[in-house]
Symmetry: C2
Subunit: 219 residues, 2 copies
């Protein structure tokens, strides 16, 4: 929206598309992290120069936050969709499967921007790692709520520690991201997800509506 809204019809028109420049910045931050991505790297990849970057995005930190927000709306958009699955097991399965696919996709850097972006930073950049940590916590909260609902609806065994189950799932997801960033392949990670789903199956109620045993066969 803001890419054209700021153009009021007067003056020299902008020579680049803001969203595309942001997409390219995402890649650089994704590959090298916040501190590993210099302004020179960024402007070279974005095809603009530093004054333009400064005018449009304000600062390197604001550019990064804009990049993370756009990253969420594009590369991580699948996550919200998985919460719509009908059962807790289906939610977790589809999330982990989709996460592996997203983390190992061939048309972008491996891993996850919200982890590689800045797990730990210089003292002056501590806001970056905190921003990312808060960002990651949001989905864990949403998943925990979804699983609590599932427990009430009866597709998780009564008394299940849904917060712990959600934390397990996102923790595994973050581990998958670390592994993917180090070069692990899709099949290897899906096999690890197979194991994790065995744990989830243990929390299904007695008359389990799904047949989780089918998962191990497809991989």
């Amino acid at each position: 929206m803001s890419s054209t809204a700021s153009y009021r019809g007067r003056g020299r028109p902008r020579a680049f598309a803001e969203d595309e420049a942001l997409d390219r910045a995402i890649r650089v931050f994704w590959e090298h992290g916040y501190e590993g991505a210099s302004l020179s790297d960024l402007t070279a990849a974005m095809g603009i120069n530093k004054p333009s970057l400064y005018i449009v995005f304000g600062s390197k930190e604001e550019l990064f936050k804009r990049a993370v927000a756009r990253y969420r709306d594009t590369y991580v958009a699948y996550a919200a969709g998985t919460l719509e699955e009908p059962t807790a097991y289906a939610v977790i399965e589809s999330y982990l499967r989709a996460a592996v696919d997203a983390l190992t996709g061939s048309d972008h850097p491996p891993g996850c921007l919200t982890i590689q972006g800045g797990l730990s930073c210089a003292p002056s950049n501590s806001g970056i790692s905190e921003h990312l940590a808060g960002f990651r916590a949001v989905f864990e909260g949403e998943l925990a709520q979804r699983l609590a609902r599932a427990e009430k609806e009866g597709d998780l065994a009564p008394g299940t520690d849904t917060a712990a189950l959600a934390r397990f799932v996102v923790t595994l997801g973050q581990g998958l991201a670390v592994h993917a960033a180090a070069g692990a392949g899709r099949e290897d990670l899906q096999a690890a997800v197979d194991v994790a789903l065995r744990a989830v199956a243990a929390y299904l109620p007695s008359g389990s509506p799904v047949t989780p045993a089918a998962e191990t066969a497809e991989a």
Copy 2:
């Protein structure tokens, strides 16, 4: 060993203990990562100045690798011990429990140096992230070998994908490290381990020699 071996009895004696300086460097790298830790930060924490650092450790990169090696021999020494446990389940349980305790210990930074140290770096520092990735892969290999032995010895169900099981365990461990770095508490992470152990229990042979159900009660 090398802290005193270079002293040949002639000349001014060194005013600092090499291992203690290394311990302090570990903390700085642990908190801020390789790129987030400047030489000024390091020398200030180590209590030495730059020429001394350069003479003893060669460069920032060599200092980091020395720090990682010492980190392994001290803070991660517990991991090798867990492989000595008698059964696959005991190995995995003791490893994950000990990992959570190590990741959330109060007398050092939270998380794991081998992940926060440099998950992704500037292009000129790509050797750092590769070094750490290779370092992490070592334990996964050792655990996979240990679990393969367990499958032969009969305390894992025949036909178990031991490589996938090992990958699941270390992947979860890495996720725990990310979570711990973001401030997660010990109990929260142990609850996630409770869930994970349910998955492991699914791979035990029919007449399971251990009673994994006891785990959920103690937390």
